[in-house]
């Protein structure tokens, strides 16, 4: 993955618009957050291989960026995106990595299902 270039990322997001795509969306503080910092309110969310068709997708703001996908009757967005890549399977992988290189959020779009 490389640091987000907004114009390039915008083109890539748009290339997935108006077709059925598989989504991976994840936020995490890590499973040890409340172990290392007792009382920490640990939250996270994870969905994988949900099929949607978005009509408009945008990357907005300075890094860390926000990425939003407008669906016919709803929304998906991710805040804190810093890195992106298109992998060998043509999947758009976006992630928000903290300064230590730990993933805090991921938003991934693919025309084929992600593995399990």
């Amino acid at each position: 993955m490389e640091i987000v270039k907004p114009d390039h990322l915008q083109e890539l997001i748009t290339s997935f618009a108006n077709k059925d795509v598989y989504i991976h969306l994840e936020t995490t503080n890590g499973s040890y957050a409340a172990h290392r910092n007792e009382g920490f309110f640990n939250v996270g969310a994870f969905i994988r291989n949900i099929v949607v068709k978005f009509e408009l997708g945008k990357v907005v703001g300075d890094s860390p960026h926000r990425v939003g996908l407008k669906l016919p009757s709803g929304w998906i967005y991710a805040q804190g995106i810093t890195h992106f890549t298109v992998d060998e399977y043509g999947r758009l992988l976006m992630a928000g990595l903290d300064p230590d290189g730990k993933l805090s959020i991921a938003l991934q779009i693919s025309e084929t299902p992600f593995t399990y």
Binding site: F46, D87, Y116
Partner: protein, 230 residues
């Protein structure tokens, strides 16, 4: 001294779970000629450490961690690794009976005299806890006289307050190099920790030396079972 075992069965959810507090014992068992089976339930797909600049992404991480695990097993002399194919952070949401059956099947096949896993209630990560529950439940279903011993790793912050001191402490001085090689094999997870550890060992930090040399387990307390039945 480690007690000679017929067969040791290790059940853990993540590649690297074995490295920190069990790998020296595994290497020692292998040196003694004891067969060791390691069932690793996931490939740690949801690991957070991708580096900055990143060396991996969400989709390549499991491939990297699988290769690291294989290298770690080589370092320990472990030749029976089972990859069970679950997804990281989902074990507690699987069907609980299915998880028990998985452990029962592994025990039926390997007939272990000792099982090593986590301690239910004291192992912090939800996957550790789910693995621990499945292991305890599967063993509980066996007649008392047929049960393997269960050594459980516990590291929750309240462990010593509630469980006391571990009753099983293995001195793994003779397999320290293998343990360090196992830790290093899980590079994606341990590279920063190893820099710190190696520095502390070079400085002869007594806490670091003790951590490396002694592996601490609790024999599962059946008299204070975490549940009545399942």
């Amino acid at each position: 001294m480690l007690k000679k075992e017929r067969h040791v069965l290790i059940i853990l959810p993540h590649p690297d779970d074995e490295a920190f507090g069990i790998s020296g014992s595994i290497a020692a068992y292998r040196k003694m000629g004891v067969p060791v089976t390691y069932a690793c339930l996931t490939l740690g797909e949801m690991g957070r450490n991708l580096g900055n600049p990143p060396f991996a992404n969400r989709e390549t991480l499991p491939h990297i961690r699988k290769a690291e695990l294989e290298k770690a097993c080589e370092a320990m002399g472990l030749d029976d690794l089972r990859l069970m194919g679950f997804r990281d952070k989902t074990l507690e949401f699987e069907d609980d009976e299915k998880m028990v059956q998985l452990v029962t099947d592994l025990m039926d096949e390997t007939n272990p005299s000792l099982v090593i896993s986590f301690y239910p209630g004291y192992s912090v990560h939800p996957d550790h806890e789910a693995s621990a529950r499945a292991v305890v439940r599967a063993i509980r279903r066996m007649p008392v006289e047929d049960r393997p011993a269960l050594y459980a790793v516990a590291f929750a912050n309240n462990t010593e307050a509630e469980l006391g001191e571990p009753d099983i402490v293995h001195d793994v001085y003779e397999t320290t190099d293998q343990k360090l090689a196992t830790l290093s094999a899980h590079e994606s997870q341990t590279i920063w920790m190893m820099r710190d550890l190696n520095k502390r060992l070079a400085d002869k930090d007594p806490e670091a030396e003790k951590w490396l040399r002694y592996e601490r387990f609790y024999t599962y307390k059946w008299a204070e079972d975490f549940e009545q039945s399942f």
